[in-house]
């Protein structure tokens, strides 16, 4: 078949499709239930969609299938115990959950971790971001109908998990951050090993870029689907890569002054003007590359010294209130900690990124076709533990 033949055939096919669309179809209303257990929901989200033919008229996410009562549980735990609990909010990037809470407690106690602990914290923070987003990139392929990327993601994610396990002892939930520093220093040879692993993850990003983002089918399923303009994104409180993909140049790593060492590294905040599913996924790919860059640069700049300041053995946080938010893999995650001077917090309000990110689902799904539901949900990227807590 020559090229002109193929062009003619595709022209005829498109004409036929147009003719079919022009005929007024008799459509029927239908309610489609997705979940609570569906691969596209990253856990147990349920989405009720009312359809007219193949078009979504109305959609609503039903959260709460993974609600474990975090905010209530933190009231009956001591401060060090809360850390092990909040590891499990966003289970793909566990270490990133600990940091804002510990920073809030340190703010109340008016202490600061030593410089060495700050740099190691930042490195582990970025490693957990890589572990999180690399699985997203693999899972994205599965949801678009390509199986291979997820095997690549699981293979290369193991390098990062090994590093986190080597440094903290926990493969999944490190529970490594302490008020006033870190539990331990880095083991011998860890820095060298991390350099090798980061190189492998950079190769993984290139592979995904070729395999997935260079794929024509993938592009045609992603581009122009689920466009979220910047003002709507702001209204719904989107954060993280979802906001940056709509052109909002806002990153808490850069835009606020926290005792983390992001200013030691030379890196870039990526934004995209389009605001479609493609842009959201592409931003995440670029962010993984930036995280690799940050880790690679910080590894050479770890200062000598202790990893723990002097804190009392039994930690009592003085009375007060503190709010600290950081740029987690999924977006802005913050803790509002109220202390009454006891062993444990009086009240902890958790602002998790995914809860706000899925609040846009009814808006974003209105009027789309059924296959695009999965595209939009996949590109919004939420984790159920992060939504329901």
């Amino acid at each position: 078949m020559t090229l002109t033949d193929r062009q003619q055939l595709s022209y005829i096919a498109s004409q036929a499709a147009d003719a079919r669309l022009n005929v007024e179809l008799e459509t029927e209303g239908m309610t489609l239930n997705i979940g609570p257990q569906h691969p596209a929901t990253h856990g147990t989200l349920r989405i009720i969609a009312r359809l007219d033919g193949e078009q979504v008229v109305w959609a609503e996410p039903v959260a709460g299938y993974m609600h474990r009562g975090y905010e209530k549980l933190t009231e009956v735990r001591t401060f060090p115990q809360v850390t092990s609990l909040i590891n499990r909010i966003d289970w793909l990037g566990s270490f990133a959950n600990e940091v804002p809470f510990i920073l809030a407690a340190e703010k109340l106690m008016e202490i600061e971790a030593p410089p060495r602990a700050q740099v190691i914290r930042t490195i582990l923070f970025e490693l957990s971001r890589i572990a999180n987003v690399s699985l997203f990139l693999g899972d994205l392929g599965v949801q678009m109908g390509a199986i291979t990327p997820v095997f690549l993601a699981f293979r290369d994610r193991e390098y990062i998990l090994n590093l986190i396990e080597g440094a903290t002892g926990g493969r999944f939930h490190p529970n490594f951050d302490r008020i006033g520093g870190l539990k331990d220093d880095l083991p011998k040879g860890w820095i060298q090993e991390t350099k090798g692993a980061v190189k492998k993850l950079e190769e993984f990003c290139d592979t995904i870029d070729d395999l997935l983002f260079g794929n024509e089918i993938f592009q045609s399923r992603m581009r122009g689907i689920g466009v979220i303009p910047a003002d709507i994104a702001k209204d719904y409180g989107l954060s993280g890569a979802n906001a940056r993909a709509s052109g909002i140049d806002w990153d808490l790593r850069r835009d606020q002054d926290l005792p983390l060492s992001y200013d030691l590294a030379d890196w870039k905040v990526w934004t995209h003007p389009d605001g479609d599913s493609w842009a959201r996924c592409w931003i995440r790919l670029q962010e993984t590359r930036e995280s690799c860059k940050i880790v690679g640069q910080l590894l050479d700049q770890i200062p000598a010294g202790p990893v723990m300041t002097k804190v009392p053995r039994i930690i009592k946080v003085p009375e007060g209130e503190a709010w600290v938010a950081t740029e987690n893999p999924l977006g802005e995650m913050g803790y509002y900690v109220v202390s009454k001077g006891d062993l444990g917090p009086f009240r902890v309000k958790i602002r998790s990124a995914s809860f706000n990110n899925i609040s846009i689902v009814p808006w974003a799904l209105k009027g789309v076709y059924v296959p695009d539901i999965i595209t939009i949900l996949a590109s919004l990227y939420f984790i159920l533990g992060d939504i329901d807590r």
Partner: protein
């Protein structure tokens, strides 16, 4: 499987059937929380590669599955869905409970919304402890489940009375049943001793890295 339905199979045939059953297990992945990722690592990653054990992690629906791996926190809102899934699976069916949350509630033992153990809803064959367990632990749980399937009395399993070969052997050793599995009750019927409870509601669960749960 008419042979199995009618009654007891010849021993070599049972062995053959059990062997083939244990090495073509289709698992339904009921991934709920953190453990789902470790389950994904065990089932979907090239490093752990569960398919070498003869486990196929691909069924699209519980109706095609031989066993279910409940991994993660089961909340009270989710529990009816877990129960419904279990009822949809065809016999013979098995269940693995992965992770502390599914075993007993785990770190949410005092939470108001978490079901303290999925065994309140469905019968569990293998418990895999850990928070979350490493993929290797899940693989060991699967190997232990395969050993259980190999030792099973198929006819009894098909009838659904859950009276496995393991328990039959124990009952025989205790002198409660004869070789055919019938109750030895000729002398006991006139004595004052209470009848021995032979057929348990469910076989004893296996715990990875430990003994049976009391």
């Amino acid at each position: 499987m008419g042979l199995v339905d009618k009654g007891r199979l010849p021993a070599p045939l049972t062995k053959l059937f059990n062997l083939s059953r244990s090495y073509s297990l289709w698992v339904y992945q009921w991934g709920l929380a953190c453990c789902a990722i470790e389950m994904g690592a065990a089932f979907g990653s090239p490093r752990y590669d569960v398919m070498r054990l003869g486990v196929i992690p691909l069924p699209a629906s519980p109706r095609q599955a031989d066993f279910v791996c409940v991994s993660g926190t089961v909340t009270d809102k989710m529990a009816p869905a877990v129960k419904r899934l279990w009822e949809q699976m065809p016999e013979p069916k098995y269940a693995i409970s992965m992770g502390s949350c599914a075993n007993c509630g785990g770190p949410y033992w005092d939470s108001y919304s978490v079901t303290k153990g999925v065994d309140q809803i469905i019968p569990i064959d293998v418990y895999v402890p850990g928070c979350p367990p490493r993929p290797e632990a899940l693989l060991e749980g699967i190997v232990l489940l395969q050993q259980r399937i190999k030792n099973e009395d198929m006819a009894a399993k098909w009838r659904g009375d859950e009276f496995t070969t393991l328990q039959r052997t124990r009952a025989m050793e205790a002198g409660e049943v004869d070789r055919e599995g019938e109750l030895i009750s000729d002398t006991r019927s006139i004595s004052d001793e209470p009848m021995p409870e032979v057929a348990a509601a469910h076989p004893e669960p296996i715990v990875v890295g430990g003994g049976p749960i009391e």
